[in-house]
Amino acid sequence: MALSGIEIFKHLPKTNCKDCGFPTCLAFAMKLAAKQASLEDCPHASEEAKAFLGAASAPPVRKVVIGAGEAACTLGEETVMFRHDKKFVNPCAYAIELADNDPGLDQKIKQIADFKVDRVGEDYGVNLIAVRDASGDGATFTAAVKKVVEGAPSVGIVLASEKPEILQAGLGAADGKRPLVQGATPENIDQLLPAVKDKAVLVVSASNLDTLAELAEKAVGAGVNDLILDPLPANAREAVERFTIIRRLAIKKNFKPFGYPTFMDARHDDPQVEGALATVGTMKYASVIVLSELRAWEMLGLLTGRLNIYTDPQKPMQVDQKVYEIGNVNGDSPLIVTTNFALTYFIVAGEIENSKVATRLAVQDVEGLSVLTAWAAGKFTASKIAEFIKESGVESKINRKEIILPGYVSVLSGALEDKLGGGWKVVVGPREANQIPQFLKARAS
């Protein structure tokens, strides 16, 4: 729950000592309310104030970290229901489940450890491996967990069993790795709590929401604070409904038992349905999503969807300013200029690829605005385009000094020719990207 500056002020020392760097306690309180300062900046805050303000300023969904070191994966801390209100904070984690007695275990662990895909210049991989106690045997389970610890150091571990003795053995093998233990049920929670305390994150599961809240409270009562909630949805509708109910109560009512990340088992016999179910979870508030197998095509799609949904809606996605070469360009390849809004770039570059005409695409940094918006904001002007083109050095790579301008800013063509000078010619291209293939093909023939 957000506190006002006045409410915070009541708990400060009111000495105006300035040790926090602000002129008065009230000014500091206002900064705290706006989340532009931290209570740690006040050396004189009482323990009572720290406890009160700490609890009040804690995010409604607790931050939970699974894994340690390079495998660490942060979940939770969400503050809104809709991404158009504010950025979703911590992307969901995808887990691949492996049976502890799978004869191909070593190979599968290696594949998961090695898997990575590049999206918009960054590498993404699988976050977690879930080891399932298919054997029912503690020694087999422990051996499998050890293989994951050694074979996939950058991937977190889920210990999947409902048997306390098997989980206990698994916890020993994953010591210091802060695994996710999946998990606690009304039947086994009393035995599990002492075993996981300070060592692991615990999934509590119950299909009845009342029972789920009781399990969460019981865990916290036993000092196990890092929890993941699994409301055991039997189908996609229950997943949407239960994850929505949980997140809404956490965020709008600060209902503590539901203030944790969530867990969804998306496994399905049909890989395409599994991909669809995992998409449901990605969009609708699941924090850990379990898949049955590593399939490159499925991970590529899910990681892309996750990246889309967790982008900051206030900050347009941008690409770097430079002259991109699409296809095997030579001195006679056409040169097109556009802006660095990621969507503009992807669509224009995609249509150039579709045209199969090798082309240079000069992408100008306009702080991530589309062509028309950038033009209206005075960031995509004749002089700025000319300056970028000259500095880019593209002139030395092309035989004919000709540049294609987006149709929407045809008004700039005369001025751009003047600013470029030196025999440059400006050609007005199409207004919409989907007309680029036609335009480039006609031009090439």
Binding site: E214, A236, V240, E241, I245, D270, V280
Partner: protein, 314 residues
């Protein structure tokens, strides 16, 4: 402990629109809560997935669809019948790509002929889409609307430059209309207001807020849909209550992720499975945000989405 579920107080409702005639007519819309939130309201009618049928094949149709559709896609009647009879399509979306002035530039009359032939062959609802070039779509969709008179089709997409022609043709022939706007909440509202001012009944409109493929601006479409739905249900904004139409097939099948072969990009996995997943995952995202009608191309992608819809509506 008893958990007190927090329910949203929705004051608005999505308009129910019927397309098609007879036993095979389909209703969409009608929800009085966010998508699939049966715990706090009526989820409305099951979303409708229409199979895309092209009246002319592009020069380089997607390789990934060859295995699924290659046997029928040389002829729109054969293709539409295959969708209805073999794939059990609940609706077909005929895209009149032959009319593209930058392509074959077929006449409105020839497009109307194709519409007639397809309508003679099928009895599921038909969605009629132009080539999406404003100047040409006006006369083409007018001729198509005349040819489809009395079949309660869904025609579009009407845009700012041509909505008057298309809306008038829809009204006089008893069809529903797709109102297109370019990926912006306010523009989506504006085209509905323009249609109302032109005396077109808002109860016969489907809003197309622009589809985007996974990885290609999906998040923008997602948020525009969510905002439109919230405006209709929570703020009870009458101009934002028509059901939503998303033309996925038009955007999914031209991107790199469905086209690149496994030889070129082995780390992306099997192309056929990848492209099917791409269309299905894009579809599910749109449904989660609030879409009512989707146009899709891959039968296996449609099957995966229908199976998920069975769960969502169950």
């Amino acid at each position: 402990m008893a958990v007190e579920i927090l329910k949203e107080n929705y004051t608005g409702k999505v308009i129910t629109v019927e397309v098609g005639t007879g036993d095979k007519a389909v209703k969409v819309g009608g929800a009085s809560a966010l998508p699939f939130h049966t715990f706090e309201g009526d989820a409305g009618h099951r979303p409708l997935i229409a199979y895309e049928v092209l009246d002319a094949l592009p020069e380089d149709p997607p390789d990934a669809l060859q295995a699924e559709l290659g046997a029928v896609w040389d002829d729109p009647v054969k293709w539409a019948l295959y969708c209805q009879n073999d794939l059990k399509a609940r609706a077909v979306a005929l895209r009149l790509v032959s009319t593209d002035p930058d392509g074959q530039d077929a006449s409105p009359e020839s497009a109307a002929e194709t519409v007639k032939k397809v309508l003679d062959a099928i009895d599921v609802p038909l969605i009629i889409l132009g080539c999406f070039k404003e100047a040409k779509d006006g006369p083409v969709l007018k001729a198509a609307a005349d040819a489809a008179r009395g079949r309660n089709c869904l025609i579009g997409k009407a845009q700012e430059e041509n909505y008057k022609t298309i809306a008038a043709a829809a009204t006089s022939n008893g069809h529903k209309l797709i109102a297109f706007s370019n990926l912006d909440f306010n523009l989506a509202k504006q085209i509905n207001i323009l249609l109302s001012q032109a005396d077109f009944d808002i109860n016969n409109v489907l809003v197309d807020p622009t589809a985007s493929a996974l990885g290609y601006g999906l998040e923008y479409t997602y948020s525009v849909i969510e905002r439109i739905r919230a405006a209709g249900l929570v703020q009870n904004d009458a101009m934002m209550q028509p059901p939503m139409f998303l033309d996925l097939a038009a955007v999914v099948w031209k991107i790199k992720e469905v086209k690149a072969s496994e030889e070129d990009l082995p780390e992306w996995g099997d192309r056929s499975e990848r492209s099917i997943h791409w269309e299905a995952s894009t579809a599910i995202s749109m449904l989660m945000a609030g879409a009512e009608i989707l146009v899709m191309a891959s039968p296996r992608a449609v099957q995966a989405v229908e199976q998920t819809l069975d769960q969502l509506m169950g």
